[in-house]
């Protein structure tokens, strides 16, 4: 049975999973969840994802949430197809992969995602005004972390070595929104910019950047 991805079609975290599905050539059905009408907070949704967030995956009845757990599951299950090496299997390389992913979540995603939400997702909602001070504070934090990335990426092509892994690709859906939020922290750092241009030119991002679409009909 074809994989079902339940998410808002333009969701940052949904796109993370969709990138992995494309990288591994895994067909899937997008089941759109209308987050603007609160579809992710109704009891039938909460039965599957109790935190009321998108995305979740339904693999023939096996339900999984958290986009990086889903991506890891897909890349492992379909290891032999699509792009190879996205999760290294040699023990030390695998440890460095997880090091890079946990570092990404706390050092990069935390400030960058919140900055994007503050600047871009509050604007269209009546009554919600972006907090400029909070945004600036987040970007200052992010800049310090991207300075570290600049050093790392001056010595190697990707975050854990010279081969691309999911640890690199996980950054795309939210870092790609920074320019629209008025932040050029990625573009202004030569090695980070080079790395980001490389990973965003991949077919997987090109396929989902303007919205996730089913690659299998239902």
């Amino acid at each position: 049975m074809v994989l079902k991805l339940y998410t808002y079609y333009n969701s940052i975290n949904g796109k993370r999973v969709a990138i992995t599905l494309h990288e591994k050539n895994v067909p899937f059905e997008l089941h759109n969840v209308d987050v603007f009408t609160g579809e992710h907070k109704v009891s039938t949704f909460l039965e599957k994802q109790p935190f009321g967030q998108v995305p979740y995956l339904d693999d023939d009845g096996f339900i999984l949430y958290e986009s990086r757990a889903i991506s890891l599951y897909i890349a492992t299950k379909y290891a032999d197809q699509g792009n190879q090496g996205l999760i290294p299997t040699e023990p030390k390389a695998n440890a460095l992969f997880h090091q890079a992913v946990y570092s990404e979540v706390t050092n990069i995603e935390d400030p960058a995602y919140k900055a994007v939400v503050e600047k871009l997702f509050k604007k269209p909602v009546p009554g919600l005004v972006p907090d400029e001070e909070f945004f600036k504070k987040l970007i200052t934090g992010l800049d310090g972390k991207l300075d570290v990335y600049e050093k790392i990426l001056s010595k190697q092509k990707y975050l854990i070595g010279n081969e691309v892994t999911l640890a690199d690709l996980y950054h795309i859906p939210y870092l790609s929104l920074l320019p629209a939020a008025g932040c050029h922290s990625v573009d202004s750092r030569p090695n980070v910019a080079r790395w980001f241009k490389d990973i965003t030119s991949r077919k997987s991002w090109q396929a989902v950047k303007d919205g996730i679409k089913s690659t299998s009909t239902y």
Binding site: P50, F51, F62, L64, Y65, E66, R68, A69, I70, L72, Y73, T76, K77, P91, K92, N94, A95, L96, H98, Q99, V101, Y102, S103, V105, T106, N107, D110, K145, V148, K151, I152
Partner: protein
Amino acid sequence: MVLKLYGNAVSPCTHRVALVLNEKEVPFEFHSIEFAKIEHKSPSYLEKQPFGQVPYIEDDDGFILYESRAIALYIATKYPDQGTKGLVPTDPKANALFHQAVYVEVTHFDDPAAKVTFEKNVKPKYFKGPVDEAYIEKLSNTLDAKLSVYDKILEKQKYLAGEELTLADLYHLPYGVQLAPIGIKNLVEKPNVSRWFKELEERKSWLDVKKTFNIQ
């Protein structure tokens, strides 16, 4: 050469690694990084941990690794047959649910818990900054909402990833024990969460961490 753990006695992330080393009965040497001397931002430290954060390990063969959960996963995977078994399930679906539980812990629990304990305990003590009570209340409300979801999950199963203890449960201890003392009582008041957390707190591996680092 024994594994070396570089961290600080007051760092919950350091406690997280020590906890898993204890569970897997892996001997280690603790090397204290002096925050007061800003040792974690020195050039020689940054060569090992470029974000200037604690902890990192130097394994018995010189392999350097940071991020407490990456270290824990590496140790549990390297030593599957000693100490507590099953902390990282190998069956594909159980493994996926394990990683799901870990990312839940990182984003839904650790994020607010680390921030609220910093604001309440660390900022006034070490940085002499004013305490933002409104921020503390917001984080407390977040934790309350998240732990209400935990309570529903733990009503149906014994641990966060299923019926067996995994690293995902253990990861909650270092910040979890700091919450009740600052008035955030969810871990001791919600029925299923308190059943689950009490059992974790009583594990010998955690009691040994408390002894090693003089945690009250």
